[in-house]
């Protein structure tokens, strides 16, 4: 496999910040929109860095870092319309940001105060899914629902390179192809599934998987926010227009550890990381903005300031996240009354009432 993504890689902005053209894909953004993307990238990276720090400080039990995948997430997330629907894994903090999900609400899961964290309906952004691949079928089911409602909406489904080995992901390919469902499969190939390199999951580029199911697959430079935006917009438009599914492979790199529990020095060489640093998704946009005069120093420092503010907000907010009352675990097991859960809750309350203060 080509370490640089190969000739099939769609790119609109080189690592050096040069705007290039592609025969099939393009975006036409105003300077303001470009600055907006830059701002997204910086803020998303900052959320990630702050959450990582909060984990180190013991405020979070775990954090799944997105470092290096900002462009893949912001580019695809910004391609969505508000009424499109996104199904994330556990790492799509950048997509969450583009959907308008409160960054603070992303922390709850990792702090252990909730298994969810937000109402999926509010921003058409599903809850994080931890079981690898499960959400791909949910995405297809949701897309089948859109078809039945006759709506002009699309679904995007995120998953990793490792996930492509799961039966459920492949079943999602089957169902979406057979029903021609309006869904975009967005695979962030960050080259690693924890400690396993891509070669443990496939021997050909992942975007080619789609061919086997009869729908288009495309490989995009996942560190190029413009290319990702362009490619995702096109795929979503095709889905909305009834052309069915597309698989997008965003070729990128997990620059951090798998999660804060992971130690990548055990399984990968530092040189790779250095090579990928040269392809940083934010740097190239910054260079491009600066070189073309679309942004000046004042803009860059205003974004920095905003990032700083966001970090403070996260820091303070994280510590203030309310702990759920113990009895809340009984609350939503069922939507309708359930005698066993009621009895166990009562027993729980009786038991805790014995102790001074008791549990709520």
């Amino acid at each position: 496999m080509t370490a640089d993504g190969g000739p099939e890689l769609v790119q609109l902005l080189t690592p050096e910040g040069e705007r290039v053209h592609h025969p099939e894909y393009d975006v036409d953004l105003t300077p303001e929109e470009l600055r907006g993307l830059y701002r997204d990238l910086v803020l998303v990276r900052r959320i990630d860095a702050e959450a990582t720090a909060l984990q180190r400080q013991g405020e979070l039990g775990l954090w799944a870092q997105l470092l290096g995948q900002e462009a893949a997430q912001v580019g695809s997330g910004r391609a969505l319309r508000p009424d499109d629907y996104a199904f994330p894994t556990y790492r799509e903090h950048g997509v969450a940001w583009t959907r308008g999900v409160q960054p603070l609400s992303l922390l709850g899961l990792f702090r252990g105060v909730t298994n969810g964290g937000w109402d999926p309906r509010e921003r058409n952004f599903a809850l994080y899914t931890i079981v690898i691949g499960d959400q791909c079928l949910h995405a297809v089911g949701y897309a089948m629902g859109i078809q039945r409602d006759g709506a002009e909406q699309a679904v995007i489904c995120y998953f990793g390179d490792g996930a492509t080995s799961q039966g459920d992901v492949n079943e999602a390919f089957v169902f979406s192809a057979v029903y021609n469902a309006p869904v975009v499969f967005f695979c962030q190939n960050n080259q690693w599934a924890i400690s396993e390199p891509l070669e443990r999951q496939t021997r050909i580029p992942l975007y080619q998987r789609a061919q086997g199911f009869g729908f288009p697959g495309i490989r995009v430079d996942g560190n190029d926010v413009l290319a990702v935006l362009a490619v995702t917009q096109a795929a979503l438009a095709a889905a909305r227009e009834g052309q069915g599914p597309t698989l997008i492979e965003a070729f990128t790199y997990r620059m951090g550890a798998h999660t804060t529990s992971d130690d990548p020095t055990r399984y990968r060489v530092a040189a790779d990381l250095e090579a990928w640093k040269l392809k940083d998704p934010i740097e190239r946009v910054k260079v491009h903005l600066a070189r073309t005069g679309m942004a000046d120093a004042a803009f860059f420092s205003s974004v920095e300031a905003e990032a700083e503010e966001l970090a403070v907000h996260l820091r303070d907010g994280c510590r203030a996240l309310p702990e759920p009352p113990p009895t809340s675990m009984f609350d939503h097991v069922y939507a309708e009354p359930h005698p066993l859960v009621s009895a166990e809750r009562a027993e729980f309350e009786r038991y805790h009432a014995q102790f001074a203060g008791g549990a709520s």
Binding site: V131, D168, A335
Partner: protein, 327 residues
């Protein structure tokens, strides 16, 4: 009131569900033109269209996983698993997603999914076509698990399952599909008995027999046979295995002093274990004998020529009753 089979009653229930709520969808393998291998969905695709009665690709995880997405979109999917032994490929989606989505979302996302599974043995089938997987689902918080024993309950309970905002594993006793009974197809759902309540089908004084699904008829026959020996059995159709209607059983056992639980599934960690443990806890001083259990053995379901030896029958129920009475 009309006399009809359980299969036809289930078909009528699905028809009513499709008619009364246009968010209800059916999905499964061969449920369209074929009407399902047991014809439970016979004619429904013709009348409600391919978009509401959906022949799915051959993939159970796919069926349940897309049902989750459809539920998130506000649909009420009713999925058919062709046979009990084919539900396991969907186990992850059922246990980790269907069962937990509502809690995970603090109530924001409901999972009104009905999982219909023809289950149990007695039809002379090959391997994987005669299993009783209810304990797996009953042990799983977030799911409800119910099973009708007769056409009338089948008709009402299936509609109740579809109308429920919780996921319901709806176990259809396939060897009773052709049993007949009276069904009031105009029955008002609102006034129907909760599907989670057990029903005393026969009053008795010597011992209580609790059962569900395919074993109900067997136990009723056992009670009739026992009568001639002067033994009066109270027969309870549990109807729901999760939740279990413990109070109804406890009240009965307080009267009779003895309990025998009967199911086709393996006894070891079967539903009978839970009922035995709970009833013993609540009736410790009224029990005159330990709760005895009659069920399948700790073996794979045997080849069909041996299923009569494997499945609880009238005699095995009476043998357990005798043992309980002898205590």
């Amino acid at each position: 009131m009309a006399v009809t089979t359980m299969a036809k009653a289930l078909n009528a229930a699905l028809r009513r569900a499709l008619e009364s709520d246009d968010r209800v969808l059916l999905m499964g393998e061969d449920i369209g033109k074929l009407g399902g291998v047991f014809r439970i969905t016979d004619g429904l695709q013709k009348d409600f269209g391919e978009s509401r009665v959906i022949d799915s690709p051959l993939a159970e995880s796919g069926i349940l996983g897309t049902a989750v997405g459809l539920a998130m979109r506000g649909f009420r999917p009713v999925v058919e698993i062709q046979f009990d032994g084919f539900v396991y490929p969907a186990f992850d989606q059922i246990v980790s997603q269907v069962a937990k989505h509502h809690a995970r979302s603090s109530g924001a996302t409901r999972m009104p999914i009905t999982i219909r599974i023809p289950y149990g043995g007695g039809i002379g089938a090959v391997e994987h076509h005669s299993e009783s997987p209810e304990a797996y689902f009953a042990h799983t918080a977030g799911l409800r698990v119910i099973s009708p024993s007769n056409p009338f309950d089948a008709f009402v309970m299936l509609q109740q399952a579809v109308a429920s905002d919780d996921p319901v594993v709806f176990l259809e006793p396939k060897r009773r599909y052709w049993d007949k009974g009276e069904v009031d197809v105009d029955a008002d759902l609102a006034s129907a008995m909760s599907p989670y309540r057990a029903r005393i089908l026969r009053d008795g004084t010597s011992a209580t027999v609790a059962c569900y699904g395919p074993m109900v008829r067997t136990c009723l026959e056992a009670a009739t046979a026992a009568e001639t020996d002067g033994v009066s059995l109270e027969v309870i159709d549990l109807r729901s295995v999760s939740p279990l209607d413990v109070p109804t059983v406890v009240a009965s056992v307080r009267r009779t002093g003895r309990l025998v639980v009967v199911h086709e599934a393996s006894v070891f960690l079967g539903v009978g274990a839970e009922l035995a443990a709970r009833v013993t806890e609540e009736c410790f001083y009224s029990l005159e004998a330990p709760v005895l259990r009659v069920g399948g053995y700790h073996t794979p379901y045997p080849p069909s020529k041996l299923e009569e030896d494997y499945l609880p029958d009238l005699d095995r129920v009476l043998d357990a009753v005798d043992r309980a009475l002898a205590f």
